[in-house]
Amino acid sequence: MKRSVPIGILYSRSGSYARISDACRTGALNAIAEINADPSRSISFEAIERDPAGNVDNYGPLCEEILRDTPARHIIGCVTSWSRKEVIPTLEKSGGTLWYTVPYEGYEASDHVVYLHACPNQHLLPLLEWTFPAYGRRGYLTGSNYIWGWEINRLARETIHAVGGEVLGERYLPIGSLDIGRMIEEIRATEPDFILNSLIGTSSYAFLKAYAALGAENPRFSPARCPVLSCNLTECELDDIGAASEGLIAAGPYFHDGSQAFVSSHEAAANAAVSTLANLLEAAEENTRLPIAALLQTPAGLQSRIDAKTHHTPQPVLIAQVRQGAFRVVHSGGLVAGDPYLSQPVPNTLRRLRAVS
């Protein structure tokens, strides 16, 4: 008889970024089904689901509801950094842990979060390092109006300036806004070497379609001459973007080549979250009551590859381009440890070329 352990699932089933939530949720639920069906596992998981419906103000209360009304101590969930920051105080108060399975902007190492996707030294910096010699150093930056876009673009701006490049424009839209006309006009006027797109969800889809139309009209804006780069674009959104996705370049820890088990990095990360959690909790019954910091000190914790200091994980650095409707890996930078505060030395190719006072 398996020991049943409840775990929380906190993903929005609707709203602007529902595609990503769905991918994460599918990955988590499939992984739970695998654990439950695996006769070699001594535990099974019972999913306790809450749906914040894409409203950031629902995350804190629903997280509290799970931790207060159920015995679940671990929650797999959150897509935006905004929602993650909303649940951290609740996790801290109740000793809960969030397993976070999407890329984020770094500068966080909560004792109550496990970060299972890439942070900037695993996505943005290698992406820019690869882009500069291939396309140039003159960039246009876009983003949704919250911490992800702001911080990714700040770091991009600093990196571009450090190598003597130029930022030709930087513009933000509220989450869900489709008002992309001005960005397209600015890009047309400034003719950058690349566009770094940190818009999310429907804003991003609208922008990419309009930019593809511009590229069809003027080859100066074709993927070969001025590609769109992203650290948050994954397979789960390609259908929404349609033909406009051709030529998009993304950085991430995982791309689906058609043969692997998971269809996106979100599914892969959510699967890793559930199976790692199973390894940590399986070893002893009292483990279900231990905080994550103590779990990471157990033998299973030491084998988990979750860094005890930062709760980040090593991730493969891959850069892929959409070709004929699917991502093809064009560069592999190997497995890189998460460095959320960028306290490790910067690669030579991204170092300041000139003294800046």
Partner: protein
């Protein structure tokens, strides 16, 4: 305004001046996650503290003799760990020259922003005090300039010409007007741009 420097905290050395306490472990955890080296000292800072990059100190139980420098003269940014928000303790914490604070109990966050804010304010204060020293010195040297101008007037005939001779001396030697004035006085009556008299060179 210049942006906050963000990339060079890795490997920096932080000292926590606090008795063993939950606040120390919460603080250490955050500092290690940011990439700093951490040591804890109590009740006084050792000599090696002079080389530390940041010092966090207990504002509740702290006193001046804990620090191996004069009050307010710390050579690195200080961050106060405040539990008791009593005016007397806050006054003392301010007198140390602390440029940021963290409230106890220390939770899951707050250290990273305290590091950046403390360092930024520390550097701004240091730059300002260097500028003040420089200006003070200039004021002190005002008399030297006046005496040099008076001396040069005997040669050049007018105050304007004397001042212009002094300025050209400073520019040629790439030194300040004050330094040029001191040179003129040392050298006596031999300004560089004095017109040659007769045919003798």
């Amino acid at each position: 305004m210049r942006g906050v420097r963000i990339v060079d905290l890795g490997g920096a050395h932080a000292i926590i001046l606090h008795r063993p306490h939950a606040a120390v472990s919460a603080l250490s955890r955050q500092l290690l996650a940011v990439g700093l080296r951490v040591t804890t000292q109590w009740p006084v800072l050792e000599a090696d503290a002079l080389a530390a990059d940041f010092v966090f100190f207990d504002a509740d139980m702290g006193f001046d003799e804990q620090f191996p420098w004069q009050r307010g003269q710390a050579p690195m940014p200080l961050i106060a760990l405040i539990g008791t928000e009593a005016p007397g303790r806050i006054e003392w914490a301010l007198s140390t020259g602390a440029t940021a604070q963290i409230l106890k109990p220390v939770g899951d966050s707050g250290v990273y922003s305290a590091l950046l804010i403390a360092r930024n304010a520390f550097e701004a204060r240091r730059a300002l005090s260097a500028e003040v020293n420089d200006l003070r010195q200039k004021i002190g040297e005002r008399q030297t300039v006046v005496r040099a101008v008076v001396m040069l007037m005997e040669q050049t005939g007018s105050e304007a010409a004397a001042y212009s001779a002094l300025r050209s001396e400073a520019m040629t030697a790439r030194i300040s007007i004050e330094e040029a004035a001191a040179r003129v006085l040392m050298r006596g009556l031999q300004p560089r741009d004095r017109k040659p008299t007769g045919g003798a060179a």
